[in-house]
């Protein structure tokens, strides 16, 4: 028979492995629920059904498309192939402007309308979110 110590250690290792497996499972599980996918206007056009999950839409703010009222801002995001209307109320970053890159986070109403809950601010005027760059290069 194995000694008590060996058994204890074996038990400890088993416990360790189970906890490890369990925590990794938990982490990956909640990743699945909580990640936000990025999509370009063209990708949204190709969707077969409109998801209820939060997504990010990125592209350029179309020229002459910003309309502002006291509660809401409306604008159009384009990737020069397709475009999508965005309605937003919230903080507008300083670098948000027509003809510049933008990433909006929120929910799709349908394939034409996007309700944004957040517009992401960037630090650098030349900086373009990698997703936008990729989306623009694909065209």
């Amino acid at each position: 028979m194995y000694g008590r110590k060996v058994k204890l250690r074996l038990f400890f290792i088993l416990l360790l492995l189970t906890t490890l497996a369990l925590s990794i499972f938990l982490i990956l599980k909640s990743l699945e629920d909580n990640v936000v996918y990025f999509q370009s206007p063209s990708q949204i056009k190709l969707l077969t059904e409109v998801t209820k999950k939060k997504i990010r839409v990125g592209g350029m703010v179309k020229n002459n498309s910003i309309f502002i009222k006291s509660k809401k801002v409306r604008f159009v995001i384009t990737d020069f192939k397709n475009e999508i209307n965005v309605v937003y109320s919230g903080v507008i970053p300083n670098l948000f402007a027509e003809g510049k890159g933008v990433v909006a986070e929120g929910y799709l109403k349908d394939k034409e309308f996007f309700l944004a809950t957040k517009i992401l601010a960037k630090h650098d005027e030349n900086y373009m979110p990698p997703e936008v760059k990729a989306a623009l290069e694909e065209k």
Binding site: I66, S70, N94, A97, P129
Partner: protein, 625 residues
């Protein structure tokens, strides 16, 4: 001229590295004291890098645009203070700063370790020189701060205005002192493992270095957080953004290491933990530099970057990890003599539990940070991981963790029991009543929040009692733990009580809700040294008739042409009133965000208290109980 001297100094510094390695290898098996040449060359290396660094500062001050780094990141109209701090506000300069701190720390180590065995000192120096050598090659090859451009431009491109800020001016040096401080821990742990020199005395000496690095890292993160709070204008202090996460990860590893080294110092157990954590801390610090500088992170803080550099750091990182694992597996002898006498209710068990919790938090942050990169590489799907992910995974584990922090320090070494601990139950009941009282007024998840706030209050009371009852025994721990409990409590209450109003207003308009009136009275223009300033005047009238005037500012910088908004914050001990104003392109409307953030100042104070705890421990000569 200054650039030229700096550039040559850098190469001489590299030469020193080679000489130091040569002499220390030669000296390794000789008996007697450490060869004085080795110390002289280490000093000389430090000297060259200091010269090189001042060369760069001077080029920035003189706006020497023949230097590419200066051209890219400076401008003649920039105030002198930001010309100087601009030196390390960019990639090249910040790496030079890394080198400076690397060499400074190894020099200090050699000076302060005279009592240690010679072989240990030499080996530490050698490991450190490997790192220094790697960074030299990296700086000279991929990011030389002294590159020459011709024809010489007459004007520079300017520093990103968002970096022109006092907190961010000193944030990188302090953070780097923490990051790079972990290199000494890394080197000496590897040296001690190789020589099988892990003793209680060694633990005591290395603890000082861990504390130094930990204090600076804590302060560095605090500064970054304060900056984000008032400069980014979102009114938050932590966004779970990848760039923030990479500074949190070494902090978690280092904090765990700090607790482990206490056990090692006292009982000579947990050596494997200490070794692994030392390696992890430094690797995570380097990873931080890699992830931030390579630009593969999709972060709100992303600055300009270059993928080639990332590749170099990545290769270098793998070499170091390989080296350290080699040392760990081949030289580390696992002793069995002490592992068996762990009693389930003892201080060492509680520290071990603390370790596991910390490792869990670390892996959550790690996975949340690198999973998007990983996924993009394998499936080209682009995702981002936000606060809900972290909240969901961290909060449930935070509750037992907080209870463990409250109870753990109460236990004795080796074996303990729960006698004379009745007051704990009293605290628990009081905390529960308090938190029910708070939570019931809000429409939030009752059960989870009650338990969470109960545990935070419980820890708060227990640590507060310790601070008062214990007085000067174990002061550092009492202060740091009290700081931590205050931090958690202020964050939780801040989250629950914060309010926010976002609206678009024209000049002269008023926003009205049931609770308050925001009046946009006027807008004043002014020309400053390198920007135009627009200061708005807002009077905020609350329902009880109190009026507060806030003056948020918009700055339109000339070079580069960027607009930044400066929040106006009225702080008192109970609450922060926070307002930002953003311009909307070509429109008359201004986007106004008004927030009240209760107990904000306590978040900063509590982090200061935490680092004070470290400082007290560092300054204490006598061993604490």
């Amino acid at each position: 001229m200054a650039s030229l001297i700096g550039s040559y100094s850098l190469i001489f510094g590299l030469g020193c590295s080679v000489l130091i390695i040569f002499f220390s290898v030669k000296d390794f098996n000789k008996s007697g004291n450490l060869n004085s040449k080795v110390i002289s060359f280490t000093f000389l290396q430090l000297f060259f890098i200091v010269v090189s660094f001042f060369g760069l500062i001077l080029s920035f001050v003189n706006s020497d645009f023949s230097n590419e780094t200066v051209f890219n990141h400076s401008h003649t109209t920039k105030p002198l203070f930001y010309k100087i701090t601009g030196t390390w506000g960019n990639h090249e300069g910040s790496l030079l700063l890394w080198l400076l701190v690397l060499t400074l720390f190894i020099f200090l180590f050699l000076l302060s370790s005279k009592k240690e065995p010679k072989k240990y000192r030499i080996l530490t120096l050698l490991f450190q020189q490997v790192i220094i050598f790697g960074f030299f090659i990296f700086v000279i090859k991929t990011s030389n701060p002294f590159s020459y451009i011709f024809p010489i431009p007459t004007e520079g491109l300017g520093l990103n205005p968002i970096l022109q800020d006092p907190a961010l001016a000193i944030h990188p040096p302090i953070l780097y002192l923490g990051y790079v401080g972990s290199s000494i821990i890394f080197s000496s742990v590897l040296a001690a493992t190789t020589l099988n020199y892990i003793t209680k005395q060694w633990a005591k000496d290395i603890k000082k270095w861990i504390l130094v690095s930990w204090i600076f890292l804590t302060l560095g993160i605090l500064l970054g957080s304060i900056w984000a709070y008032y400069e980014l204008g979102w009114g938050g202090f932590w966004f779970w953004d990848p760039v923030e996460n990479v500074s949190l990860m070494p902090w978690l590893a280092l904090t765990t290491l700090l607790h482990c080294i206490l056990v090692l110092e006292k009982r000579l157990i947990l050596t494997s933990w200490v070794i692994i954590l030392s390696i992890a801390t430094f690797t995570l610090s380097m990873c931080g530099t890699f992830l931030v500088r390579s630009g593969i992170l999709n972060s709100v803080h992303t600055f300009a970057n270059d993928p080639e550099r990332g590749l170099f750091i990545l290769i270098f990182l793998f070499c170091l990890i390989f080296l350290s694992f080699f040392v760990f597996f081949f030289f580390h002898k696992i002793e069995n003599r002490n592992t068996s006498n762990f009693f389930w209710l003892s201080k060492e068990t509680s520290i071990l539990i603390n370790n596991w919790f910390m490792m869990y938090f670390l892996s959550v942050v790690l996975i949340g940070t690198i999973y998007p990169i990983f996924l993009e590489v394998i499936s080209s799907e682009k995702i981002s991981v936000g606060p809900p992910f972290y909240n969901k995974l961290i909060i449930p584990f935070l509750i037992p963790f907080l209870f463990a922090i409250a109870i753990g320090p109460k236990l004795n070494w080796i074996k303990s029991d729960f006698k004379n601990k009745k007051y704990l139950l009293l605290f628990l009941i009081v905390s529960l009543i308090l938190s029910i009282f708070i939570v019931k007024n809000f429409k939030i998840d009752f059960l989870l929040n009650t338990i969470l706030i109960t545990s935070a209050f419980f820890l708060f009371f227990v640590t507060l009692r310790d601070l008062i009852v214990r007085q000067f025994t174990n002061l550092s721990q009492s202060v740091a733990h009290f700081g931590f409990s205050l931090l958690i409590l202020s964050i939780l209450l801040n989250n629950i009580f914060s309010t926010e109003i976002i609206t678009n207003l024209k000049i002269g308009e008023t926003f009205q809700s049931e609770k308050l009136k925001i009046n946009f009275e006027s807008l004043e223009h002014a020309d400053k040294q390198n920007y135009k300033s627009l200061v708005g005047k807002f009077s905020i009238e609350s329902f009880d008739g109190k009026v507060v005037v806030l003056n948020p500012e918009l700055r339109i910088y000339n070079q580069p042409n960027i607009i930044t908004s400066e929040a106006d914050i009225k702080t008192n001990l109970l609450t922060d009133k926070f307002i930002t104003m953003n311009i909307v392109h070509n429109q008359d409307y201004f986007n106004i965000r008004y927030q009240t953030k209760p107990y904000m100042v306590w978040i900063w104070i509590s982090v200061l208290l935490i680092s004070c705890g470290g400082l007290i421990s560092f300054l204490r000569k006598k061993y604490e109980k």
